[in-house]
């Protein structure tokens, strides 16, 4: 037990030291005056469209249709109508507020499931020897090449019709077509689509943990469960957190997978947001308000996990 924590601390320190060193060089290069000015200019240019959208979301709809958002500086007129209209009219079976809840219901599990499975699988690929390990790993990695669009119809028909080979029922299919608020199919679909990249990224990070650490733990009598929970998981936290952000943002912003797999009562925010402008696009100013409602959650997630994100971004990307 003592050995465990010691090793834990030492390897943590090792990694922290290496990180600090590279952070220092990067910092020196990136904080010169020239670089700062360039960064600020780029930041301003990149923010202008978002800022324009933000201003638009507070302008009366009729104004938006006739003049640009920059006219507010000379002729200011603001309203919260767009926000209240956007929240209460969905332009489809749900309102934006209802689908906001659905989005949370879809996104949180769809982030947790693949992470749990992927971290276990990554550990197995990195530190458990079994026959055909490399082939299986290459196979998992290769699955990334399959475009989502190709998997939609087969997966959907598996969910709705089940799978029968030569008259033998292998999987009965879900009877979910008429179910209210069922998220299962969306969760499974998102988990499936996320797994290859998640396993690959986490594997690269987890396999970089110094072999001595793992061996020492093994000598001390730790099983795979202990090694996974006491050594690998704590060390891999930055990688897991950064992948969690990736996956969260991807699922939160996803329209295609949810539209195809979710029953009409479980559609997420993106779907209502997409429909807000109306058949003929005449109410697109509501979308600007809707966009800022939908942006809140990703912002919270990003800022609360940001410190992991910067560190974890490089994790697993390079070896050595």
């Amino acid at each position: 037990m003592i050995a465990d924590t010691l090793i834990d601390d030492r390897s943590k320190r090792q990694i922290a030291r290496a990180n600090a060193k590279s952070e220092k060089t990067a910092q020196a290069r990136l904080t010169s005056r020239g670089a700062t000015i360039v960064a600020v200019i780029i930041a301003i240019f990149w923010t202008i469209p978002t800022f324009g959208l933000f201003v638009t979301s507070f302008r009366p709809g009729a104004d938006t249709q006739s003049t640009g958002w920059w006219t507010v500086f000379t002729d200011p007129s603001f309203t919260l109508d767009n926000y209240s209209q956007a929240l209460n009219s969905g332009g489809t079976a749900l309102t934006l507020a209802q689908s906001f809840i659905n989005s949370l219901g879809i996104t949180i599990p769809a982030t947790v499931f693949p992470l749990v499975i992927a971290s276990l699988a990554a550990y197995a690929f990195a530190w458990i020897d079994f026959k055909g390990k490399n082939i299986v790993f290459v196979g998992v990695f290769a699955l990334q090449i399959v475009p989502i669009q190709m998997a939609l119809v087969p997966l959907l028909s598996l969910f709705s019709k089940g799978l029968t080979v030569n008259g033998v029922g292998i999987f009965p299919g879900f009877e979910l077509r008429d179910a209210e608020h069922s998220f299962a199919t969306v969760w499974i679909a998102h988990a499936i689509f996320a797994l290859p990249l998640a396993i690959f990224m986490l594997h690269n990070f987890i396999s970089e943990i110094p072999g001595e650490v793992i061996e020492a733990a093994r000598v001390d009598g730790a099983g795979h469960g202990q090694m996974f929970f006491r050594i690998v998981l704590p060390l891999a936290t930055p990688a897991i957190a950064s992948f969690a952000i990736f996956q969260f943002l991807w699922v939160w912003n996803d329209l295609l997978v949810a539209t195809i797999f979710a029953p009409s009562s479980s559609l997420p925010l993106t779907q209502t947001l997409n429909s807000l402008s109306g058949t003929w696009g005449n109410q697109w100013f509501l979308q600007s308000a809707g966009a800022f409602i939908s942006i809140i959650v990703p912002l919270i997630v990003f800022f609360s996990l940001q410190r992991f994100f910067v560190r974890g971004l490089l994790a697993g990307a390079t070896k050595g």
């Binding site: 489809t92 749990v116 959907l156 709705s160 429909s275």
Partner: protein, 439 residues
């Protein structure tokens, strides 16, 4: 050795088991919420306020029959419905806006034939032209729902009075009127917008279809849509030339926006704002544009009134000769994927004049239902449009690009219109569009 071995597997297994339970639990727990056959799920491409109105128009039906109807709109419906149907997860009813797409869906074998009651209602309430678009190989599948008339020219009656001009009755008069306005104001009279994301260019196809229908008549139009008259044939080139006299003339377009090329960068719905504030005298768009005038302002800052003496109004693009009522229409088809009693009742109801009256009464749309009451429509323009649709002398043809194979009607034709406006010469554009048939 037993205990470490067991420990080694318990934790991951436990996680998997919990995850599995959570999935299964949710799936089962919520399955019981289903109300069986008594809920009819409809999906379609109608979104925004029109979707809310559609949901509302089933209130009476639900009260009378106890069948709940839930409509879900999806902006990318046209693409997604094919995936959903082939994946075995079709809605009970789909509202399909294009006969071409309807045919694709019927070809999957999942579409059910319309029930007897529905067919009887359609025979009673619709002209045979409309029934034909929902019929394939002699079997009737989909009843028409709502309609819109393409080829309106939107203008400002007040400005017309000021200039001393009147609504033209022939296409030549349209050209003369354009010239007059151009001379009086010194600016371009027409505005147009072809931008519509992936579908950019479709407003241009409406222009061409209108002209083919008016110049060469419904027979040539039918042959063209069927692919027997080619894009490279003289009849079609004639239509392009006629449209080009307006849309490719730098003196005539693009009012309120810029030069000819700005047509491609202007969103199709945005022109409503320019017509309302007076910077654009004329624009060509279907009757649905009346919805866009609800969210714009006149030069004085008020919401424009749509009426023959109001701020904006529309006239149907006239034929080559006066009083030739050839009009191009668009519409939706109620496509059942289930033959349950509830679905049959719902489709039958949607083909009745009662349903048309309720939906039309909620505003913004018209129906081609012959027994519906035109006075229920929300504006004088829509009332006139409905009367025009119900008039037995009107020759109605469905939007051609919606009927052509999608590689042309939703592919090379759209792209061709965009590159034509960008300055490509007409002959090259026409052969490019025709080449879409080989894809």
């Amino acid at each position: 050795m037993r205990s470490p071995l067991r420990r080694r597997y318990t934790a991951p297994l436990a996680i998997l088991a919990v995850a599995g339970l959570a999935l299964a639990g949710c799936a089962e727990a919520e399955d019981t919420g289903s109300t069986g056959d008594q809920t009819v799920r409809i999906s379609g491409g109608i979104t925004g306020g029109e979707a809310d109105a559609l949901n509302k128009s089933f209130e009476q039906f639900t009260k009378d029959t106890g069948i709940k109807v839930v409509y879900t709109g999806d902006k990318s419906f046209e693409g997604n419905i094919v995936t959903k149907v082939s994946g075995g997860s079709a809605p009970d009813i789909a509202i399909v806006p294009q006969p071409g797409l309807l045919k694709t869906l019927v070809d999957t074998g999942e579409v059910k034939e319309a029930g007897e009651e529905t067919e009887a209602n359609v025979d009673k309430n619709w002209s045979p032209d409309w029934k034909k678009y929902g019929t394939f190989d002699g079997k009737f599948y989909a009843a028409p729902m709502l309609a819109n008339i393409k080829g309106y020219v939107w203008y400002s009656p007040a400005a017309f009075k000021e200039w001393g001009v009147s609504v033209p009755t022939t296409f030549q008069e349209v050209l003369d009127l354009t010239k007059t306005i151009q001379e009086k104001t010194g600016t371009a009279p027409w505005c147009a917008g072809f931008a519509s994301d992936a579908a950019s260019g479709w407003p241009g196809t409406d222009w061409i279809e209108d002209l083919v229908l008016r110049q060469s008549g419904p027979d040539v139009y039918d042959q063209w849509v069927a692919g027997d008259v080619k894009f490279t044939d003289p009849e079609i080139k004639e239509a392009f030339d006629a449209v080009g006299e307006i849309l490719k003339n730098p003196a005539y377009v693009n009012a309120g926006y810029g030069d000819v090329k700005s047509i491609n960068s202007t969103a199709f719905g945005d022109v409503a704002a320019k017509v309302a504030d007076g910077s654009c005298a004329l624009t060509h768009q279907a009757s649905f544009l009346s919805a866009n005038f609800l969210d714009v302002k006149t030069a004085a800052g008020a919401t424009p009134t749509v009426g023959p003496d109001g701020d904006v109004y529309g006239f149907v693009l006239p034929g080559i000769e006066a009083d030739a009522a050839n009009i191009e229409v668009g519409g939706e088809f109620v496509t059942p994927f289930s033959d349950s009693e509830a679905v049959q009742k719902a489709t039958a109801y949607m083909a009745t004049p009662e349903f048309a009256d309720i939906r039309v009464g909620l505003g913004g749309v018209i129906s081609a239902n012959l027994n519906a009451d035109p006075s229920k429509a929300s504006s004088p323009l829509l009332q006139d449009a409905m009367k025009l649709l119900q008039d037995p002398n009107t020759t109605v043809r469905f939007d051609g690009s919606d009927l052509m194979p999608s590689t042309v009607g939703a592919g090379s034709f759209w792209k061709g219109m965009v590159s034509w406006i960008d300055g490509k010469d007409t002959d090259t554009v026409l052969s490019d569009i025709q080449a879409g048939y080989d894809n």
